[in-house]
């Protein structure tokens, strides 16, 4: 990462307008054709150098090429944190991260157990359109590059461990592109609504609400919404599997007062287990609790939730026998009992 940052510092000043921050190489593309497509004719050597390619070398399909940027690397914003979240740049010591901070390109962000963070990778100040990435507990990402050129947003993230969710773009927003790579595998998609997980030697991807491209072994697989696949980087992605659809939640009922932590839902056929999520917002950009249950209920002996005047939201995601997380159930709103908080 420090190498990437150094390269960005050296080469980030000269530039050509209308360039994305990166491209995922498609079959048949060359450095020259990509430079032509991106308006970077004459800067092929820079592209090769940024991406670690030798002179005259051509990238393989599925490789991620970094493109010269007009400006220095743009910053991301820490939208929400919950629990213990740290960031570090290069070899620096990790430091606690709080909401509202800005992240320099190349910063590594990590969450501890039971901790979450949502990064606003790119924000278009003019339209307020944005791309958000949520890290689940015990996850680490490096935000390699984020870029806004005109209305076009693009982000490149390396997933070191754990799981991330690219939050769906809101209705009517210009879709942004977020590319995630790990273990030599790459996913790239527009509009968010994707989840990626690092597994032993593989990147598991789930296209929850929007299509997603997944690359590996110089091959590309297009996932439709509601499909998942794994890529090990050196081999073509696994065939797409259909994701399980979220269950119907039973108790507590929507908009009810959460007096007892008795969560129940209807069983999902072929589900091996479930993941219950609680967040302080209906979009789950501020998750505060994720629990796994092998059965269609969760009845904890103890539960800790941050008090919020508006309450919290919960949903359930079925997990199939291959480990794929399915489509979440509809979020259910819960209010805290009167007299349980207030400041």
């Amino acid at each position: 990462m420090s190498l990437t940052l150094g390269i960005l510092t050296i080469f980030g000043l000269a530039g050509v307008a209308e360039a994305a921050s990166h491209v995922v190489v498609q079959a048949g593309q060359t450095i020259e054709s990509i430079a032509a497509d991106e308006g970077l004719v004459g800067r092929e050597a820079e592209i090769r150098q940024l991406s670690g390619l030798g002179a005259a070398a051509q990238p393989s399909p599925g490789a991620v090429l970094l493109l010269p940027l007009d400006r220095g690397g743009q910053e991301s914003l820490v939208l929400t944190t919950y629990g213990e979240v740290t960031a570090r740049l290069g070899a620096a010591t990790p430091r606690p991260l709080v909401s509202g901070e800005r992240l320099a390109p190349g910063a590594e962000v990590c969450t501890a157990a039971k901790s979450f963070v949502t990064l606003r990778l790119v924000l278009d100040e003019a339209t307020r359109h944005h791309d958000d990435l949520t890290l689940m507990p015990e996850s680490c990402v490096v935000v390699e590059r984020v870029n806004l050129e005109g209305a076009e947003r693009s982000s490149l993230v390396s997933l070191g461990q754990g799981s991330v969710t690219v939050q769906p773009n809101l209705d009517g927003h210009v879709p942004g592109r977020v590319t995630v790579r790990a273990w030599g595998a790459v996913t790239s998609g527009l509009g968010g609504g994707h989840r990626m997980h690092v597994e032993r030697g593989a990147l598991r991807a789930e296209a929850v609400s929007q299509p997603l491209e997944i690359y590996g072994g110089s091959a590309r697989l297009d996932l439709s919404a509601g499909e998942g696949s794994r890529s090990r980087g050196d081999a073509p992605p696994d065939p797409a599997v259909k994701l399980l659809i979220g269950p119907e939640t039973l108790l507590p009922e929507d908009h009810s007062v959460l007096r007892a932590p008795d969560f129940t839902w209807s069983p999902v056929s072929r589900a091996l287990g479930y993941q219950l999520e609680i967040a302080t917002d209906p979009y789950f950009t501020e998750p505060v609790l994720v629990m796994e249950s092998p059965v269609a209920e969760w009845l904890p002996e103890a539960m800790l939730l941050p008090w919020r005047a508006r309450g919290v939201y919960w949903r359930v995601i079925p997990v199939d026998r291959f480990g794929y997380l399915g489509v979440p159930s509809e979020p259910q709103h819960l209010r805290f009992p009167p007299g349980s908080g207030g400041g």
Partner: protein, 398 residues
């Protein structure tokens, strides 16, 4: 015509009164002259408005009876910071003279506070016959406000306040900026004490007689969080020695300073100690365990209970909290069935006797009939037993 009013102070949450009255008209309608005695029930809607019910009975100038019943509104016209008050009076009701008909009243009054809770009233009304002005009425009286609990903690202050606040009790019942306290002071009972708070501060009771707040120095509010104790209906939930209100669902909700909280759940024969780490700005949900049946074992061919089991049953009885118990005795299959059935019943009776001796009311114990089909493949030592199971109290019979 001048009326005389006499008001008798009555102790009640509502302001009560009684009076004598009379009236006259300048028209020759001789039955428009009258004297009467009456009473008032009054409720303060807000510091400027009182809703009242006036009833009076009297005689007219021709010695005919006259009874009036009339709801009235009493609206304070002068400022709240003045001790005396001019009020507007308006109402409409019924009058029997002796024929029943509608009757209204419009007028003005003067309230003159006296003593700690008394107010003399001098009222002048135009009383109507239907909607037609009929008689002029003048009254003088004394009412007495109900006693006010002066050191009852007020409700939580508004959460988004940015300034010091004081709680004005009845008849205001609202949080107002502390700088307004002196303006309202004269309307408050002399023995009243003022609750105050400020952003980031705890509720604080000001010294008696402090009518102004020039500098409010409050104890910083401790870091605190919510604790939701989840028991089962009928449980008693305590933190330390303090019991908390438990909802019909067995749940108690409280706010407590940050730190470790030791809670106790008592009921259904169990007494469970729970530890919770309360975190500021968070809500901790803590669930008590479900009651487990207790099995009292007996020696072969015996219905005598061991000392250890007696102690277990006593412990059970001490944590009953309104629950009831169902007992079922059983016996191992050796021997004659009739003998075993009698032995099972004796074991249940022995268990019952211990529970009753430990303080469980007899009507809270039910002995179930001997189950001859009880799992015969169970170990014999388990079958030589009586099972005690806590059940929720039965709803009271009509």
């Amino acid at each position: 015509m001048i009326f005389a009013l006499l008001t008798l102070p009555l102790a009640s949450a509502t302001t009560w009164g009684a009076y004598a009255a009379g009236g006259a008209a300048d028209a020759p309608a001789e039955d428009h002259a009258y004297v009467a005695l009456g009473g008032i029930a009054s409720w303060t809607v807000n510091p400027r408005l009182m809703a009242e019910l006036h009833t009076q009975a009297g005689v007219t100038s021709v010695l005919g009876p006259r009874v009036d019943a009339r709801p009235e509104a009493r609206v304070r016209l002068t400022g709240l910071d003045s001790k005396n008050a001019v009020v507007f009076i308006g109402g409409y009701g019924l009058s029997a003279r002796p024929d029943l008909g509608p009757s209204g009243a419009l007028g003005f009054g003067l309230d003159l506070p006296t003593g700690a809770r008394g107010v003399f009233r001098l009222d002048m009304r135009m009383v109507t016959d239907g909607l037609t002005p009929a008689t002029a009425e003048l009254s003088l009286g004394l009412v007495r406000s109900p006693a006010i609990p002066v050191v009852v903690a007020p409700p939580e202050p508004p959460p988004e306040t940015s300034q010091p606040l004081v709680w004005l009790p009845h008849p205001y019942c609202e949080w107002v900026p502390a700088e307004e306290l002196s303006r309202h002071w004269s309307r408050l009972p002399p023995d009243h004490q003022v609750w105050a708070t400020a952003p980031g501060g705890t509720l604080q009771l000001l010294p008696p007689g402090q009518a102004e707040l020039t500098a409010l120095s409050l104890t910083p509010r401790p870091e605190q969080g919510g604790l939701v104790l989840v028991g089962i209906p009928g449980d008693k939930l305590m933190v330390g020695d303090v019991s908390f209100n438990v909802g019909a669902d067995g749940v108690a909700v409280l706010i407590t300073p940050e730190g470790v909280v030791e809670a106790t759940v008592v009921g259904a024969g169990r007494r469970e100690e729970l530890l919770a780490a309360v975190v500021s700005g968070h809500v901790v949900y803590l669930r008590a365990g479900r009651p487990e049946p207790v099995m009292v074992r007996f020696p072969k061919s015996s219905a005598s209970i061991s000392g250890d089991d007696i102690e277990r049953l006593h412990k059970l009885a001490r944590a009953t909290e309104g629950w009831e118990y169902e007992l079922q005795g059983s016996a191992s299959p050796e021997g004659a069935a009739e003998v075993n059935a009698r032995l099972a019943a004796e074991r249940a009776a022995a268990t019952r006797a211990v529970l009753e001796a430990a303080g469980v009311p007899p009507d809270k114990i039910r002995v179930l009939s001997v189950d001859r089909e009880l799992a015969s493949d169970a170990p014999p030592e388990d079958l030589r037993s009586c099972t005690v199971r806590a059940v929720p109290p039965r709803p009271a019979e009509e």
